[in-house]
């Protein structure tokens, strides 16, 4: 029962008859609600709690054409020990890299709890043949990636070919084996919140362990309303089936305040059960240092300078 699919079997059938169940999102109301939650005032010990949690939830990410083994090695060190001057600061959840750099990352985090995640499936566009995508997934898993961040085929989704999108996720999930699958919707390309909800449900139904907002390659990424839409979809799947799907906002979350706002959204939408790295991740690079600065400020009472935090 607990592992029943999010939607009835046969999701590959034309989706339209199911649309009433999928439901829609009112743009103005969802943005208003997200705006209200963003105004929660999180202070003192509740803020420290949130920030330390945010560190544990971070997928420290580098996804550049210029990435090198050296860059990834530095990132991995930072992931294991984010603040060398404060051993109380926990490791992050994972490092997230391109496939070529998986072996380096695996080697560098060995012995720690930090996982290695790799983007795959022709990230970020997803515009490659399915076989090529599956090969890529199998390759990263073989080379030690614990988690795979795939992209959905937005072209197929926007053309209404939902079954193609669904099948592809199912195949990728098979290719993952024991590795965890995060499904990137690239919400900035989906056009409406209705589509974000539809894609979220589709990704969960197809077996995604996480749903993730964005590649980080678009200016419009993990906004609070998008996160709220996806969290509500996760909650609905949980209510229907008892299955807990994780969530990863990625892209555009650069400072501690935003991270806390996202956590408030989680707390007040799906509840504390999701306040764990098993079910929640931040995909970010520059966020970590801002959180570290804020944490030290909370501990010392002094506002901090970036000069005291390493820029790996």
């Amino acid at each position: 029962m607990a592992q029943a699919p999010a939607l009835p079997t046969g999701f590959e059938l034309p989706l339209e008859p199911r649309l009433p169940r999928i439901g829609s999102i009112d743009q103005v109301a969802i943005e208003e609600r997200a705006g209200t939650l963003a105004k929660r005032s999180i202070k003192r010990e509740s803020k420290v709690f949130a920030l330390e949690l945010a560190v544990r939830m971070t997928d420290l990410t580098t996804l550049e054409g210029a990435d090198t083994p050296g860059k990834v090695a530095a990132l991995a060190s930072k992931a294991v020990r984010p603040d060398p001057s404060d051993p109380g600061i926990p490791s992050v959840a994972a490092v997230c890299v391109y496939p070529n750099l998986v072996p380096t990352a695996v080697e560098r985090v060995r012995g720690s709890d930090v996982k290695v995640a790799s983007v795959a499936t022709a990230f970020p566009s997803g515009q490659s043949p399915l076989e090529a995508k599956l090969d890529e997934v199998r390759w990263v898993v073989e080379h030690g990636a614990d988690e795979v961040d795939m992209v959905i085929d937005r072209g197929a989704f926007l053309a209404g070919r939902y079954a193609k999108v669904y099948d592809e996720i199912v195949r990728v999930k098979e290719a993952c084996g024991d590795a965890h699958l995060k499904v990137i919707l690239e919400t900035g390309e989906l056009g409406t919140y209705d589509n974000v909800r539809r894609a979220s449900l589709l990704a969960m139904a197809a077996g995604g362990d996480f749903i993730k907002t964005s590649t980080g390659k678009l200016p419009s990424a993990a906004t609070l309303p998008v996160a709220l839409v996806m969290l509500e979809a996760i909650r609905d799947v949980y209510e229907e089936t008892g299955r807990r799907v994780g969530f990863k906002p990625a892209g555009g979350i650069r400072n501690a305040k935003q991270a806390v706002q996202h956590l408030v959204l989680v707390h007040e939408t799906v509840g504390v059960d999701w306040l764990t790295p098993d079910l929640y991740r931040f995909g970010a690079s520059s966020l970590l240092n801002d959180i570290l600065m804020q944490l030290r400020k909370e501990k010392t009472g002094r506002y901090q300078s970036p000069d005291y935090f390493t820029i790996d």
Partner: protein
Amino acid sequence: MTELERKQDRAPIPSGWEYATAPESREIVQLRERYGHFVGGEWLEPKESYATIDPASEEPLAEIGQATDEEVGLAVSAAREAFENGWSALPGSERAKYLFRIARVLQERSREFAVLESLNGGKPIRESRDVDLPLAAAHFFYYAGWADKLEYAFPNRKPQPLGVAGQIIPWNFPLLMLAWKIAPALAAGNTVVLKPAETTPLSALLFCDVLRQAELPPGVVNIVTGDGRAGAALVKAEVDKVAFTGSTDVGKAIQRELAGTGKKLTLELGGKAANVIFDDAALDQAVEGIINGIYFNQGHVCCAGSRLLVQESIYEPVISKLKRRLQTLRVGDPLDKNTDVGAINSRAQLEKIEELVRSGEEEGAEIYQPPCRLPEKGYWFVPTVFTNVAQSYRIAQEEIFGPVLSVLTFRTPDEAVEKANNTPYGLSAGVWTEKGSRILSMAQKLRAGVIWANTYNRFDPSSPFGGYKESGFGREGGRHGLEPYLKFE
């Protein structure tokens, strides 16, 4: 196990992450020990007085004047004198500038007013800060612009001010209701005697300091305080117009009192609004709309969506989402920035809510209240949902004016309309559906002055507000809100 049973068994969200308190500072508000009446630009020492309190702590805040007939008469005379000696002859463009000034000063001092409003009224600072104050300032700003354009609002009608307007406002939005009353009255060229509610006089009294800063001529706005006796005296005094917002019973009494006098009257009275949810609605936003409809300002809202009409086919998911959402409402200190539901305004109101809720249980409705820690002192009521409510129950008929929702169901649009309209009130209604033609059809058929479609409890100075049937007559807001303060040749 059926799906339905399984859902109901699910445990509530554990509260693992406690938010630290985030109180807004009280220091910004400087209260005097005692206040008189503001008459002719000066403070009139009251003959009688009473204490106004903070409903969240029951601590007294200040001594307030209880206006006698004579004191009310003095205020009306001051308003008359100001009307005749200058204000009515002032060019509209000059009146406009006073109103613009008032709007600006309110914006500048908005935090101070927001804190005071929460302190004296019990409403969450989040609402007084984000709703009451911005809207109050906007109201003055909007009507300021009309003051020198009345002939465009009423072409060929030669609009003229009435004279002195007597205005009586309720305790649920003290400063905002003051703005709704005073702004159009002054824009139209009248002078004003306003009586704030007995339990929430402080923001109106602080507003007198805004008038000082705006250098409004003395007597143009006069404030007298006290309970219903002061209101009754104002209605009977030599005013040319009465504007009242409050309960339907008092509204009827005022209408009776003014019978045959020819005095102009506008009434904004009670409501028992239906919030109608169709099965194709955007559910989570509809649930948010239900929450905002009934728990906004502790349900102390005349247009509150106090009757939820859910299409039977989505009854289960709506109720389960609603209950879940209810658990995340934060009830407590009105000055805490994270509070969603504040204190009940007064002991009398709390007792009225408790009495009606008891009647709901006795009549057979099923009550749901989320687990909730309430402060020990002060007046509090847990956000409440009644299911299994029949149309005939008191909780489905009478205005509770508290955080209490009655849920009824319907099967077809016609049945929804019939049930929604089955009330002597007609202030507002809500409709939630993704189907455009159905929205317009419902908007047409619901007999109420304000229809919120896919939203609820929105207000704007440019948007006329007011009721059908026993919810009153006359409109506040917009061009239409000027008309009750004018006469025409």
